[in-house]
């Protein structure tokens, strides 16, 4: 520091740095290229003892929340929400807050390695100079035998790979995440297409709604965009001085959203569509309108019986929904992830049509961006091709299919038939262990990029990603690796590197009417990084929606069960997301909100049923479905149907580092590979049996502060 700066000036500078939203660096380390330098050569913008803040985008799930990272001496210290960002407005969930535990995780892949499919004796470190020709040769394989499998984030890499596959004539990249399956994203989009005639994800204006019916949508914890929906939930409850929103949740296992609902209606899994139709009929009748043909075809009393609700209760809820000015029905993953999921989603969306809330405050809108499909059908087709030895090269980035996909799909076995598997994983996850090479990408907090497909944004948003620290290890941006390899393969793309690619992609935004502009790209770029992205100031949802004439298929009654022998199985995601969060120790130690359990997998069973079967807390049980079996300890969960059991997803890793490995069980072994009409995994109409193993393993729960290990 110059000696001209007085102590008073120093304090002023220090103070300016401490105000989070006031000073966001718009120039400095993002001067295009990241250079690794020792911190003895501290750059000017990074003074010892002063905070430097960077705006970026959270990549822990696909929601795309804006973040502000506080760094000090080149270390990422604290992550908070970006108050300006239109999606999360300064808020953040547990996953985003713990992203540094991914960045600084001791189990990261620290450089390119020849992985040799986990054969420890043959593993060897390699160099980027050796691996670029390898990737380049791989890209020169016959185009139809090259496949890319990617995660739901980041979007810029997906866009780049899309251009790359077009250039070399390969099939378009696939995107898969277990979380997208559990959310039923494709189903929701297709249902909106059939109901409103436009293939866009619907946006639910929860904040302004008065009566909300959620069908298996756990929007407070994992569904689509939990942070923005949680904010909307808070406003629905308390932002209006005189009216408090009323939430009703229809789901067999009480999720966090169901737990916060005013009424939780534990309907039978598989009866959601019937209940929605019966409600549509009752609501239309209560409003003095003629019900649709599909709604007329059901008898509300019979439906109530089949779903396990009192008919009077159903009628009461229908009157409530019909009489409110702002009613809203939300179809969530648990309801639509079934064989008849598409029709169920349509029936639930139809409830919004009945109360005519389309494009109205507190109603349904459509988002403006089309979301790329992530269907299981396409992944199954890829597995088929791999099994038929029609895939010579498989590139995997941002997803862990060996862990996430239903075991019965046989991805791991199919992977063995692919001659060359190249993983870009930052962690030695299950899929990376089965790969020939791991060419580690930077961790999200060391990367450039953008997210542009924000499922719950109320306006067009491009959310920027920038490095907040210099890369810790010998990792390289996957975009740069692919660009270099494509050039070496004689199919160059018109970009010099990742930063150039992102800049060229955002050039159209300069004149697109956002909240800032610039005369040229470099100035625009520095603002883009400084603000954490680009968006328009006005809310810009597609309010021009109307019901298309579409019929809904007839529903079957829920599957019949043999009492106390067979159970409906609910598999649900937690704060661990698609399982990638399992190596963040604080996500493991964070108590599950409903059960307060930590660090493990459990089986939830109604205490009444457990008593009948002689099952106690912490007994290890074996849960079996036609597709496989897992063992886990029991948690007697009072808020679940007596004929239903539930298992959280995300644990049961055999790789992924010290905090994830050998912990709990992976319920992917229990899931079918079946899909619904939209191609999403039909995971929630599976029946399971349960058997005591005679073992007992206590679960670490926080609800009992005395501990569960007995006297000590």
């Amino acid at each position: 520091m110059s000696d001209k700066i007085t102590r008073r000036d120093f304090l002023k500078i220090a103070g300016a740095g401490a105000a989070v939203s006031a000073v966001l660096t718009g120039c400095g380390p993002m001067s295009r290229y990241i250079v690794r330098r020792p911190y003895t050569e501290m750059p000017e913008y990074n003074q010892t003892g002063l905070n430097t803040y960077y705006a970026s985008t959270c990549r822990e799930c696909a929601a795309g929340c804006g973040i502000i990272v506080r760094t000090k001496e080149g270390r990422a210290i604290t992550i908070e929400g970006n108050p300006q960002h239109p999606l999360n407005r300064g808020r953040l969930c547990a996953r985003g807050i713990t992203a540094q535990q991914g960045l600084y995780n001791p189990d990261r892949v620290i450089g390119p390695i020849f992985q040799a499919r986990g054969a420890a004796g043959r593993q060897a470190k390699t160099t980027w100079d050796e691996t670029i020709p390898l990737v380049s040769d791989a890209l020169k394989s016959p185009a139809d035998q090259v496949a890319f499998l990617m995660g739901t984030a980041p979007d810029h890499l997906y866009d780049l790979v899309n251009e790359l596959t077009t250039a070399i004539g390969a099939p378009a990249p696939l995107r898969y995440s277990a979380l997208a399956s559990f959310e039923g994203r494709t189903t929701l989009q297709e249902a909106a297409n059939r109901t409103f005639g436009k293939p866009a994800l619907p946006y639910f204006d929860l904040a302004n709604a008065e009566v909300v019916f959620s069908f298996g949508a756990n929007f407070l914890e994992t569904w689509l965009s939990p942070v923005s929906y949680s904010a909307a939930y808070g406003d629905m409850r308390q932002a209006r001085p005189t009216r408090r929103g009323y939430l009703v949740a229809f789901e067999p296992r009480q999720s966090l959203t169901g737990g916060n609902a005013d009424e939780w209606i534990p309907i039978k899994p598989g009866s959601e569509g019937l209940v929605a139709l019966a409600l549509a009929r009752l609501v239309a009748e209560a409003r003095g309108e003629a019900p649709s043909a599909a709604a007329r075809s059901v008898d509300p009393t019979a439906v109530a019986e089949a779903a396990g609700i009192e008919p009077a209760k159903l009628a009461e809820l229908a009157r409530l929904f019909a009489s409110s000015e702002h009613s809203l029905a939300i179809p969530g993953g648990g309801a639509i992830g079934q064989h008849q999921g598409l029709a169920i989603a349509q029936a639930i969306l139809q409830l919004n049509v009945v109360v005519n809330n389309l494009g109205m405050i507190g109603g349904v809108f459509l988002t403006t961006s089309e979301q790329p499909a992530t269907t299981l059908t396409e992944v199954s087709n890829l597995v088929q091709k791999m099994n038929n030895s029609q895939v010579k090269v498989l590139f995997i980035h941002g997803t862990n299919p060996v862990f996430e996909l239903p075991k019965v799909l046989g991805f791991a076995e199919a992977l063995a038939k692919v001659p060359l598997v190249i993983s870009f994983a930052t962690f030695p996850d299950e899929t990376a262990m089965f790969s020939d090479y791991i060419l580690p990408d930077h961790s999200p907090l060391e990367s450039f990029g953008y997210q542009r497909l924000l499922a719950a944004a109320d306006r067009p948003v491009y959310s920027s990603i920038q490095p907040v620290v210099a890369p810790l290890y010998d990792t390289r941006a996957t975009a740069d690796v692919l660009l270099a390899a494509a050039a070496a393969a004689g199919k160059p793309l018109p970009y010099t590197d990742e930063v150039d690619f992102v800049q060229q992609k955002i050039v159209p935004l300069i004149s697109a009417g956002g909240f800032y502009s610039a005369p040229e790209i470099q100035t625009f770029w520095s603002r883009w990084l400084q603000y954490g992205g680009w968006w328009v100031t006005e809310q810009g949802l597609d309010a021009d929606i109307s019901a298309a004439s579409g019929s809904i298929a007839a529903f079957n009654d829920p599957a019949a069960l043999e009492e106390d022998k067979q159970f409906y199985l609910v598999v649900y995601p937690t704060q661990l997301g698609d399982g990638a969060g399992a190596n963040r120790p604080w996500l493991q130690e964070m108590p599950d909100p409903m059960t307060t359990l930590t660090w493990n997998t459990w089986v939830e069973i109604n205490p009444e049923t457990a008593d009948k079967l002689g099952i106690h807390d912490d007994d290890v049980v074996r849960v079996t479905t036609p597709f496989g079996a897992v063992e886990a300890s029991v948690y007697r969960y009072p808020a679940i149907r007596p004929d239903t059991i539930a298992i959280p997803f995300g644990q049961g890793h055999t790789a992924l580092g010290r905090w994830a490995e050998g912990r709990g069980a992976n319920p992917a072994a229990l899931l079918p590979a079946a899909v619904n009409e939209a191609g999403d995994l039909a995971f929630s109409d599976v029946t399971a049996s349960i058997a005591l193993t005679g073992k007992r393993r206590p679960l670490a729960r926080v609800e009992n502060r005395g501990g569960v290990y007995g006297e000590h």
């Binding site: 547990a94 960045l103 904010a231 959203t257 609902a261 290990y709």
Partner: protein
């Protein structure tokens, strides 16, 4: 002690009707305050360290059963039961901030304070934190890392309060309402937590603390907590 005491009385309001029980506050607090993760066995022994925890109590019987969530942190009592029992004066009252602080270097781990705290707010370090390199890189340099045998608890993120006041003082102006936010308040996705200066009758936190839904946790004990809870509508006894 300063000659003129600054009349700052920091307070927190928890709106239980907004709170969803998502536990983002728990994690945000732990990352900000270098609270160590302890592992499965320690949590099972009741030795997990949470400066703020979500008390979840089941209410009702199936099918009309629901959890009542209540985030509980140190209530920063005006008349704190933990303070007079500390033999080493480690549990002290900050006159400047009107909050209750722990001087880690004085603490010898008698745990009398935790025994006397009716809120379960105090956490004991049963071992040294085990944070392997390079994960210790994210540790917040503004907050001490506590060692084995030391009691710790929520400080209302006193490092942020001090930082905010220094900023305001450097800019020669009073602190603005909402300028200082503890980590839990900053994270809270549903906006259930509001922090501010209770001595300013116009601050948001003072206004909210007047709400007719307000109550204090175990007010009958006379601890004078600085945390005000707002009952949830329809549930949580509202």
């Amino acid at each position: 002690m300063a000659e003129v005491s600054i009349a700052e009385k920091w307070g927190l309001v928890v709106d239980q009707d907004r709170c969803t029980g998502c536990n983002a506050c728990v994690v945000a607090c732990s990352m900000e305050n270098n609270v160590p993760f302890t592992g499965e066995d320690n949590v099972a022994f009741g030795r997990g360290t949470y400066w703020i925890y979500n008390k979840r109590m089941w209410e009702g019987e199936y099918p009309r059963v629901a959890p009542a969530f209540q985030p509980v942190m140190c209530q920063q009592c005006g008349s704190a039961p933990c303070e007079p029992v500390c033999p080493t004066f480690a549990a002290v009252h900050s006159e400047e901030e009107q909050i209750n602080l722990q001087v880690y270097i004085r603490c010898i781990g008698t745990r009398y304070c935790a025994n006397n705290c009716p809120y379960h707010a105090r956490q004991f370090n049963f071992q040294d934190p085990d944070i392997p390199e390079p994960m210790n890189s994210y540790l917040n340099p503004d907050v001490t890392v506590r060692s084995k045998g030391v009691m710790e608890k929520c400080t209302f993120c006193v490092q942020r309060i001090v930082g905010g006041r220094q900023t305001a003082s450097a800019e020669d102006r009073p602190l603005r309402d909402g300028e200082v936010t503890p980590a839990c308040v900053a994270a809270c996705p549903s906006g259930a937590l509001v922090f501010g200066d209770l001595s300013d009758p116009n601050s948001r936190v003072s206004q909210m603390a007047q709400n007719e839904r307000q109550y204090k946790l175990m007010d009958e004990l006379g601890t004078k907590p600085k945390v005000t809870y707002l009952k949830g509508g329809g549930r949580n006894g509202g």
